[in-house]
């Protein structure tokens, strides 16, 4: 176990942080889900044609992240074998109980939308495949191979409805996490009506960023050609949401500083002594101000596509780091000062162990494995007529 460094006076039960890096990872993963889904809905609901190349992929990405969203929590729970208690006897006065039903309902919505989007492809493959693969596709189609005009039109309508329902569902899925922190009156670093808004906005920007990075990586390492207009549109939405996100985060900090409540003394000490690098330098400066300015140029200024893509990609990476840093600073930061308001403690995640960094990294990478496996069954990107898909 790592040494805990304390200073000042802490209540005896405040020395150990209860919520570890696993709890930082959970909103990060669900954030990626929400953002990816928003991009998909941009096409299916709002008719933003430019993002059509990534519309399917973003749905599958949302689904893959969603599949693994609950795993950090399972690794954290004292009794993961009792995890089903949260859907057997949920106590809805608790924001955390939202996890049971909101998560499952949303998983179901995304799964359903993927099914309808891919149905014609599944049916085509069910007809053309041989042997065990044929059985697989037949099962995926639930044994119904009708793809006549009317059925496909109906599918299209249903996709629109699902995408539309999915937007508030995605907002609730991520908003409740923010509310989980924001509604806690006993922790002055968390308690804020802005918390659900900040969590949701940062979720959206992280989702758009991961799609940008994944799309670029896929195009780079396969024969798929990069659609510059698609990326341009994604940069535009990324910048817009990021402005809102940074504004909200800045507003929260400003309010803390200005109102200078009783707890501000210890909270500011916690920020500068324990989170100096991750909060002020990483989250607020390097990964907020820099991408904000550079993305402005990327969106507004005329430049070569290649330059735009390179700059935008760099910003997307910085934003992914910013959102992770924000989750860390909020969740870990809130536990680094005692409720006595007189002391600070420390938290260093273990490398090995159930709640260690290695497990966290593995859980973060698993969705990408799922996407790869998915691609083996159904294509993530639609076949282009002129180039061959790998």
């Amino acid at each position: 176990m790592h040494e805990i460094v304390t200073s000042g006076f802490l209540f005896p039960n405040d020395v150990h942080a209860h919520w570890s890096v696993m709890i930082v990872l959970y909103p990060y993963i669900t954030g990626l889900v929400a953002g990816a889904f928003i991009v998909s809905s941009l096409y299916h609901v709002f008719g933003v044609k430019e993002v059509k190349p990534v519309a399917r992929f973003s749905l599958v990405a949302a689904f893959s992240f969603l599949l693994f969203a609950c795993t950090p929590l399972l690794f954290h729970l004292g009794h993961p074998e009792r995890a089903f208690n949260i859907i057997f006897t949920p106590k809805f006065t608790s924001a955390m109980s939202g996890f049971g039903y909101i998560y499952n309902v949303y998983l179901f919505i995304v799964l359903l939308e993927i099914w309808f989007v891919y149905r014609s492809e599944i049916i085509r493959r069910a007809r053309e495949a041989q042997g065990p693969l044929k059985a697989l596709y037949w099962c995926l189609a639930l044994g119904s191979l009708n793809d006549n005009e009317e059925a496909l039109k109906l599918d299209h309508k249903i996709i629109n409805v699902l995408a539309a329902i999915g937007i508030p569902s995605a907002c609730i899925l991520h908003g409740y996490v923010g509310f989980l922190f924001g509604s806690l009156k006993s922790n002055p670093w968390w308690s804020s009506p802005l918390m659900p808004v900040i969590f949701l906005l940062s979720a959206i920007v992280s989702g758009i960023s991961i799609l940008i990075v994944c799309y670029w990586l896929v195009c780079r390492f396969s024969k798929l050609s990069l659609d510059a207009e698609c990326l341009k549109a994604m940069f535009k939405y990324l910048w817009a949401f990021f402005i809102l996100d940074v504004a909200m985060e800045g507003l929260e900090l400003l309010t803390h500083i200005y109102e200078a409540h009783e707890e501000w003394l210890i909270v500011s000490m916690m920020l500068s002594q324990r989170l100096g690098f991750s909060y002020y330098i990483l989250q607020m400066l390097v990964c907020s101000v820099l991408p904000l300015i550079v993305l402005g140029f990327v969106v507004l200024k005329n430049m070569q596509d290649s330059t735009r893509i390179r700059l935008g990609l760099g910003c997307a990476v910085l934003i992914l780091i910013q959102v992770l840093a924000m989750r860390w600073n909020v969740i870990i930061g809130g536990q680094l000062f005692s409720k006595s308001l007189r002391g600070l403690t420390s938290y260093t995640p273990a490398i090995l162990g159930r709640e260690g960094l290695l497990v966290a990294l593995a859980l973060f990478l698993m969705p990408f494995v799922v996407m790869y496996v998915f691609n083996l069954i159904l294509p993530l990107f639609e076949k282009e007529p002129e180039t061959e898909k790998q």
Partner: protein
């Protein structure tokens, strides 16, 4: 044929939605009909007299022995406040005060005042720790004790984050939430809590609020009492005599 099937689906759909709504609204109604605390009586209160406490730590030791509290975790603890004439405040609680306290390195002349403050779970009347439990593992007993169901707790630690008094901890043996229970197992047998039992100074008092001869009713009448962090709205049931402004 097509029309028939469509009619059937419509009817089935509305029946499903209607019955779902009916069931949900009905159960919502019954749970709303029970306002927040009916069925729970707050029969007991705990009083801590910080003007009498001598900081011997016997209460912490007795609690640990009585309730098999794992080391480094505290169901109760004692804090010492030393207010200096210059305005500084020094607070300490070496191992929760379990083995008593040592003299501090301040000259007597520099000390404005100094006192001990025992702390424990406040068994609030409106506990927000109970409010945030996602699985109904922590609850208020019919007598008003805030307890944890060790068999249902999933160990999410949300209640520990919620408690404004840091009274809860994660038990490393049971991997569930743990906290002071006001020795519920002793109260049900007609005894008093372990900490009250062993306190040599009579700084801890426990009893029924409605017992006119008991210590609680007496002090409720005789002294001005405070609670910790009243602004939370949790309505704690541990009342303090002589709580100083420096105590959080």
């Amino acid at each position: 044929m097509k029309q028939d099937r469509r009619e059937f689906i419509k009817k089935a759909g509305w029946t499903f939605i209607g019955s779902g709504l009916y069931i949900n609204l009905f159960s919502l109604g019954t749970s709303l009909a029970n306002p927040s605390r009916s069925g729970i009586q707050h029969l007991y209160a705990f009083i801590v007299d910080t003007e009498t406490c001598i900081g011997c730590g016997k209460c912490v030791a007795a609690c640990r022995a009585e309730n098999r509290v794992p080391p480094d975790n505290y169901r109760t603890w004692v804090e010492r406040y030393t207010l200096l004439k210059g305005g500084g405040v020094e607070v300490d609680s070496p191992q929760g005060g379990e083995h008593g306290f040592q003299p501090l390195a301040f000259a007597r002349a520099d000390i404005q005042k100094s006192f001990f403050v025992p702390k424990l779970c406040n068994h609030c009347a409106k506990p927000n720790c109970v409010q945030v439990c996602p699985v109904g593992a922590t609850y208020v007993s019919p007598e008003g004790f805030v307890l944890v169901d060790e068999k249902r707790c999933v160990g999410c630690s949300y209640c520990m984050q919620a408690c404004p008094y840091s009274a809860r901890f994660m038990n490393p043996v049971t991997h569930t939430a743990d906290k002071c229970t006001w020795c519920y197992h002793r109260i049900r047998r007609g005894m008093t809590t372990a900490c009250v039992e062993v306190c040599p100074a009579g700084a801890r008092l426990f009893g029924r609020v409605d017992d006119p001869a008991g210590p609680v009713a007496r002090l409720l009448k005789a002294r001005r009492l405070q609670v910790l962090k009243p602004e939370t709205g949790n309505e704690p049931m541990v009342f303090y005599v002589g709580l100083d402004k420096e105590v959080h």
